[in-house]
């Protein structure tokens, strides 16, 4: 079990708490009986020994930190010395009240683990800080252990050298497989678009951000580079040491100056047009992923929701006006618009699709003005929705766009919509051949 060297500070700790009532040898023997023979965790063993000899466990000073790699599942009274690998803010709703929480990744020389900080930050925490966390708890979420820092826990900043420097082995990963909160990844991809922006950080500092889309043979992802690596559209890169953050379910590959960016030969990956072909997802995969950028979905439109076709929007907030009134701004002169809000279903799952005015005009074969004429002639606004139902329902479609998720499920905002033609004969022959084998 524990080596002498590792037990020594705890023996000293107990000795101090008991005012040297026992000899170090006696303490060591007690400690080994508890931990080795009875398998009591070190922290509980220390408390029990101090109590047994009428000391106060509050006087114990050296806490029993757990190595991150040893955190299994449900654990209470968790103490850790670790470094903050990443930290992000998030607003959630508790009893209808907005509440600020923080989440990210903790690491030590044995591994890394996601964490959530549920209470107002006890200290200002930043990425790279070395901290001592006491009385946290662990549970599992999506089969992965994670650390929760609740109201009973404390977080103290400690000296940097109290946690050894660690470098984690990077994980080679395809873009199709990236998920929220992953870190230390090794990704090889082609930059298919990039733009430079100035953004304000939490500390009100202006920072340069290079963001865009990268693609490999499995899929695409948005990226955010917080450092000027001199990347350009078309470059094939290997980025080691990035992490994944999510925006409304869309995983984003993020990296900063600590990442290692290597420019590779162009032949390492197929050209951009070819990479574009691969991002066809099943809806069940999208649900598991939480979202995707610039993705293609092949599915059938099985429902068109009310509020599709010819609609009127509030000039103030763009909300759809119902019976001449906006939910927020009351009676307004609504501005006409065209859209489709429908359900796409591919047999593996379903999502809500939003089709904008321009694409809706393409589907209808006439523009907004003509749609308004038709509605006026018929004295009925819903004739346009009827026309869209006629054209779209039960129709296999290929839709491309960004897919996000929230508590209402997946939503695809269409950039392109086309009728999908299936070569029935060819498909049938292919399947018959497979079945006969």
């Amino acid at each position: 079990m524990e080596e002498n060297e590792e037990l020594a500070p705890h023996i000293e700790d107990i000795n101090r708490a008991l005012n040297e009532k026992l000899s170090e040898e006696q303490i060591e023997e007690e400690l080994r009986t508890y931990t080795d023979r009875y398998g009591v965790p070190l922290g509980s063993a220390k408390r029990s020994i101090v109590k047994k000899y009428e000391g106060d466990p509050q006087d114990l000073y050296v806490s029993t930190e757990k190595a991150i790699d040893d955190i299994g599942g449900d654990e209470q009274g968790l103490n850790l010395k670790c470094r903050i690998v990443s930290i992000n803010e998030k607003e959630i709703e508790v009893d209808d009240e907005p509440k600020q929480i923080w989440y990210g990744i903790l690491g030590d020389d044995t591994g890394t683990i996601p964490f959530t900080l549920w209470e107002a930050k006890p200290i200002e925490l930043e990425k790279g800080d070395t901290v001592k966390i006491e009385n946290a708890y662990a549970n599992t979420w999506n089969d992965e252990p994670q650390v929760n820092i609740g109201s009973k826990a404390s977080v103290k900043e400690i000296e940097n050298d109290e946690v050894p420097q660690f470098e984690r082995e990077t994980q080679k990963l395809d873009l199709a497989d990236i998920r929220e909160n992953m870190q230390n990844l090794d990704v090889t991809a082609r930059v298919t678009s990039i733009e430079r922006k100035m953004v304000n950080t939490q500390d009100d500092e202006e920072k340069e951000l290079f963001s865009g889309i990268m693609a490999d043979e499995t899929g695409k992802a948005q990226f955010s580079a917080w450092h000027d690596f001199g990347m350009e559209e078309g470059d094939v890169l290997r980025v080691k040491g990035g992490y994944v953050r999510s925006w409304r379910g869309i995983p984003q590959y993020s990296f900063d100056e600590t990442a290692e960016v290597e420019f590779l030969d162009d032949e390492e990956l197929p050209p951009a047009e070819e990479l574009d072909e691969v991002s066809v997802y099943s809806i069940s995969d999208l649900a598991k992923r939480g979202g995707a950028v610039d993705a293609i979905v092949d599915a059938v439109m099985i429902d068109i929701k009310s509020g599709s076709g010819l609609i009127f929007r509030c000039p103030e907030c763009r909300r759809v006006v119902q019976k001449g009134a906006c939910r927020v701004h009351g009676k307004v002169d609504g501005e006409a618009d065209l859209r489709v809000k429908g359900i796409l279903d591919d047999g593996t799952g379903a999502l809500t699709v939003i089709i904008n005015r321009e694409l809706t005009e393409d589907i209808l074969g006439y523009d907004l003005e003509e749609a308004m004429e038709k509605a006026k002639d018929e004295m009925n606004q819903s004739v346009i929705q009827d026309a869209l139902e006629e054209k779209l329902i039960a129709q296999p479609l290929r839709v491309k766009g960004n897919i996000t998720s929230d508590e209402y499920g997946l939503m695809l905002v269409a950039d392109e919509v086309e009728y999908k033609t299936i070569d029935v004969e060819e498909e049938a022959r292919k399947m018959l051949d497979e079945v006969r084998v």
Binding site: I302, A350, L351, I393, E434
Partner: protein, 297 residues
């Protein structure tokens, strides 16, 4: 993140749907119930495209309750739409079979007695579509069936069906779970039947295997309608001739009419009975005294 996931619309052939006898109630409040097919499709919602062959309002004009039959290459879906689906009921009311239709709806079951388990679709949407759309649906349903068969074949190699092992083999967890539940409920599952069904339905869309076009279905139906009309006028003729010849005031005995009609035409007893029933419900015949048939008007 907890998401409200809309229930997926399964593409399942009528035969597999109608073979189902396992219903799983949702475990939590308001969670949906599923019809689990013999191959483990857990159906809450279904999407099908087929031929609308019959529709009938078993309610009244005020509160219609439409029942319809929609056939695919393997069998017939029983579809219903009532007051809770007013738009579907209206649309269905205006449809003249035969037609290619697409239907989205919820699976529904009815157990009139212990040995009978009836399945149907409570329609949420019905729309006339083209033959091409029907053929595309057959491909989708076949793809879906093929995947469930692959799960079944892999699972049959296991001593005990393990969801985990199936997922490791690359199958969707929901499919694997569904198959395990099905496997515990249905005894001695015959995959052969569904393999044949898969092949037959794929051949159905190939040009070398003749399938009925909607025109042929129409012709066949018209042929049947013609024969119905012929039989009806034959029955009327027989009765009116006898009434005239024998100056009968209270109609002609049922058995005599039957005998005479069967002499003149190659017709079964059932066909005769059906023809008489049709004439009676159309208000062309009545029974002045028990067992006698008389023409109205």
């Amino acid at each position: 993140m907890s998401m409200i996931n809309r229930e997926v619309a399964w593409r399942v052939f009528a035969r597999e749907f109608n073979d189902s006898t396992l219903e799983m109630e949702g475990t939590e409040e308001r969670s949906p119930s599923y019809l689990v097919t013999p191959l483990g499709a857990k159906i809450n919602r279904i999407y099908t495209v087929g031929v609308l062959t019959e529709r009938e309002n078993i309610g009244d004009p005020e509160e219609p309750m439409w029942r319809a039959r929609v056939t695919d290459p393997t069998g017939t879906f029983f579809v219903s739409a009532g007051q809770y689906q007013p738009e579907v009921a209206t649309t269905l009311g205006h449809m003249e079979p035969p037609l290619f239709v697409a239907v989205v709806g919820k699976s529904s079951t009815y157990q009139p007695d212990e040995d009978t388990f009836l399945t149907s679709i409570r329609a949420e949407m019905i729309k006339e579509v083209t033959e091409e759309q029907r053929d595309q649906w057959i491909i989708e349903a076949a793809t879906s069936l093929k995947e469930r068969l692959e799960v079944a074949i892999e699972a049959s190699k296991m001593d005990e069906v393990s969801v985990e092992e199936l997922v490791d083999l690359g199958f969707d967890e929901n499919l694997a779970e569904g198959f395990k539940q099905a496997n515990e409920h249905y005894d001695s599952l015959s995959f052969d039947k569904y393999e044949r069904m898969l092949e037959d339905s794929l051949r159905y869309v190939l040009p070398e295997y003749e399938t009925q076009s909607i025109e042929e279905i129409q012709e066949e139906k018209e042929g049947e309608d013609r024969r119905d009309e012929e039989l009806e006028s034959l029955v009327i003729d027989v009765i009116s001739n006898l009434e005239e010849e024998e100056k009968l005031e209270n109609g002609v005995e049922y058995e005599r009419v039957k005998e005479k009609v069967m002499e003149e035409e190659d017709i079964t007893e059932d066909e005769f009975e059906e023809t008489v029933n049709n004439l009676r419900s159309d208000g062309k015949l009545y029974e002045p005294v028990l067992g006698n048939l008389k023409i109205i008007g």
